[in-house]
């Protein structure tokens, strides 16, 4: 796929090019949206809003980085806006300035599929879920997360530490159950 040509055609609003761009990125971007929301419906809503923004702002893409990364960034921003504005999420989407929670450097082995892991992450409270995704998956620093969410860097760190600890405990528990029930042995 010639990205530059495709982008130019999309800017010229050629339907076939727009569809091609969508088909190329839709599945992976729905994965991104899925991680930030609690239901597939919401994820698809975010995906829809995100792609509308992509097509609207494609002229601003400077061909400097990967197109996929640029679209991904738009999806993440759209997802954050969705969480802030949607009544189902914004009640929980608030961050208290908590004391710093010590980060446990526990690194369990992950023996689950991407979807299983994503589903575990999605069971975190929405604030934890968001910060975990932004830091652990997208790779944003806590300073950047603080700016994106309008919270202190320390709050972001604290929330992340709690989310991480909670998630690791769940993963361990899951592993124990799987070992007991012979799921791994059966693999």
């Amino acid at each position: 796929m010639d990205t530059q040509k495709l982008v130019k055609e999309c800017i010229r609003e050629i339907p076939a090019a727009q569809r091609q761009l969508y088909d190329h990125f839709a599945e992976s971007m729905l994965g991104v949206c899925y991680r930030y929301t609690k239901s597939m419906d919401d994820a698809e809503d975010v995906l829809q809003d995100g792609f509308v923004k992509v097509f609207k702002n494609l002229g601003q893409y400077k061909y400097e980085g990967e197109l996929g990364a640029w679209i991904r960034r738009i999806m993440v921003t759209t997802a954050l806006n969705f969480l802030k504005k949607n009544s189902r999420y914004n009640h929980e989407f608030s961050f208290d300035n908590e004391n710093l929670h010590p980060v446990a450097y526990d690194n369990p082995e992950i023996k689950m599929t991407a979807k299983e892991l994503a589903d575990l992450v999605r069971q975190l409270p929405i604030g934890y879920q968001t910060i975990f995704n932004l830091h652990a998956v997208e790779g944003f620093s806590h300073v950047e997360i603080g700016k994106m969410l309008g919270i202190n860097e320390g709050t972001s760190r604290s929330q992340y530490a709690r989310a991480r600890a909670l998630l690791i405990s769940w993963i361990k528990k899951n592993d124990e159950v799987n070992i007991k029930t012979g799921v791994y042995a059966g693999k």
Binding site: S39, Q48, Y105, K115, L117, D119, N174, V177, N178, V183
Partner: protein
């Protein structure tokens, strides 16, 4: 293991996360990117139309001109004779009028020398009076019919948005998490799966499953926030995996149903206090300001005492309100329409003279008055404040357009039309008979009314059950409310502050 090894693994796992979106997503994306430009044009046109409507109303009513109440009939001409049509150049008209007042010449004398006045007599064939209308000869009250009844009213078609097709979520459920526990309690179902996890189910104690199933989400959050790193049993325990799977299917259904329910009818109530009055013709581009009859000023009259005629009172705005219920349905993410049933109370205030009930028994007048009329007022005098009240049952149809992107607290512009039926009124009408009187005459009221509405509303509070909104709204009637040839203000208008409550049907 390095401290960020976990993050790296999570990140690499998550990069592989892919789902195939439903076809509806692309259809909606395509629809939005194609219609964007078209929508902008519509928004601009409707906004301009709304602003023009409000501006016109404001100009013609809030800052309407006042005129002298007392007029005299020119001697030598039949009383009540109508003068010339209003000159488009109002300043010239005023000057000529005042010069005429200072001059003692009669209209007939002017006729010989002034061609403009000749026109007046040419037009006198159109003159009529109330008495003539009622087949009662009374040349003194003969008055010409107003000619400026042309209207340029244009019906505005309500825009109806397209109803979107429902999105069907496609969920890949190879392995299921307890994610949907948050949405609904786990239904106790007997469904089983054919994968290896079905075996695990056998080991699960029923009471444990129950415990997991009914555990509320709040508990989960609290434990997380307090730092107690104790995952809930149900979250990762495979014993409830089957239940979760069932839950997923059910939750998916619930979500689809929820999505559908959002598109269904919602209902609400509104109360809109405001003010109302009578307006001149709604049409733009017709005569700017005219009276049905050109009343001469009494100032400067010398030769002979011409009988005085009182002009119609200035109409002041009175209190009004609308109260009703409505149903609303979304037609797209940004548009919706609503139908309602409401009671409308409108009023306007007149300053009139004393009662002249003696006229009721006047033999010439009996055919003019309604059978039920039991009072007559002098038009001039400014001694009594009389409130004309109108009671309507109305059916409003409004189209709403969300102007901002905030779905939780939308700012909407609404426009539409209303059909109303007058059910009661105590309104009094002006008549030139007996030098200007007011009396009740229901036959001059048009009972069926069509009006245009436009307004804005802000959602000031939104919770799970109700949505409160507040904003200004204006109604301009397209049908003449008062069909009185002696008055030029006949169209009802209303402006108010609409406070509404919309009930969300969340299950």
């Amino acid at each position: 293991m390095p401290e960020n090894e976990f993050e790296k693994k999570v990140s690499s796992e998550m990069q592989e996360l892919k789902f195939k979106p439903s076809e509806q997503v692309w259809l909606r994306v395509e629809e939005r990117i194609r219609k964007k430009k078209k929508r902008r044009v519509f928004v601009i046109i409707f906004l301009l139309a709304g602003l023009a409507l409000l501006g016109y109303w404001q100009r013609s009513n809030l800052f309407g001109e006042k005129k002298n109440n007392i007029v005299k009939i020119v001697p030598g001409t039949p009383s009540g004779e109508k003068q010339k049509e209003p000159n488009p150049n109002s300043s010239i008209e005023t000057n000529s009028s005042s010069s005429t007042d200072q001059n003692t010449e009669t209209v007939n004398q002017k006729k010989a020398s002034n061609t403009a006045d000749k026109t007046i007599n040419d037009r006198s064939t159109d003159e009529r009076s109330v008495i003539n209308k009622k087949i009662i000869a009374d040349p003194k009250n003969e008055i010409k019919k107003p000619k400026n009844n042309k209207k340029n009213e244009t019906g505005i078609k309500p825009v109806s948005g397209k109803t979107k097709t429902e999105q069907k979520p496609e969920i890949i459920s190879d392995v299921v998490s307890g994610n949907y526990q948050k949405q609904k309690p786990v239904p106790d179902d007997n469904k089983t799966r054919d994968n290896s996890k079905a075996n695990i189910q056998a080991e699960v104690k029923p009471d444990e499953v129950k415990q997991t199933e009914v555990k509320p989400e709040e508990t989960k959050i609290d434990s997380a926030k307090t730092g107690i790193i104790q995952p809930e049993k149900g979250l990762v325990n495979t014993k409830d995996t089957v239940a979760k799977d069932v839950l997923l299917n059910d939750s998916a259904k619930v979500l689809v149903e929820k999505k559908l329910s959002e598109k269904k009818w919602k209902w609400g109530l509104h109360f809109t206090p405001g003010i109302s009055s009578l307006n001149k013709s709604f049409s733009i581009g017709s005569n700017k300001s005219f009276d049905a009859y050109n009343y001469q000023s009494s100032v400067g009259s010398v030769s002979g005492p011409p009988p005085a005629r009182q002009k119609p009172s200035d109409i002041k705005a009175g209190f009004a309100f609308q109260l009703g219920a409505f149903v609303q349905r979304e037609t797209s993410q940004r548009t919706s329409f609503s139908l309602g049933l409401q009671y409308g109370y409108y009023s306007n205030i007149l300053r009139i003279g004393n009662r002249r009930d003696s006229l009721i028994s006047n033999s010439q007048f009996t055919n003019v008055l309604d059978d039920k009329a039991n009072f007559v007022y002098n038009a001039g005098g400014d001694t009594i404040k009389y409130t004309n009240r109108y009671h309507f049952i109305e059916l409003p149809f409004l189209f709403q357009w969300r102007l901002n992107k905030n779905k939780a607290k939308p700012f909407t512009w609404s426009t539409g039309f209303t059909v109303g039926q007058l059910i009661a009124s105590n309104a009094i009408m002006y008549d030139t008979a007996f030098n200007g009187i007011y009396y009740k005459n229901k036959s001059q009221l048009n009972k069926t009314q069509f009006s245009l509405s436009t307004g804005f509303s802000w959602t000031i509070a939104d919770n799970k059950r109700v949505q409160w909104s507040l904003g200004p709204i204006a109604n301009v009637h397209l049908s003449k409310l008062v069909d009185n040839p002696f008055e030029n203000k006949r169209y009802l208008f209303f402006v108010g502050l609409r406070s509404g409550v919309l009930f969300n049907q969340k299950k």
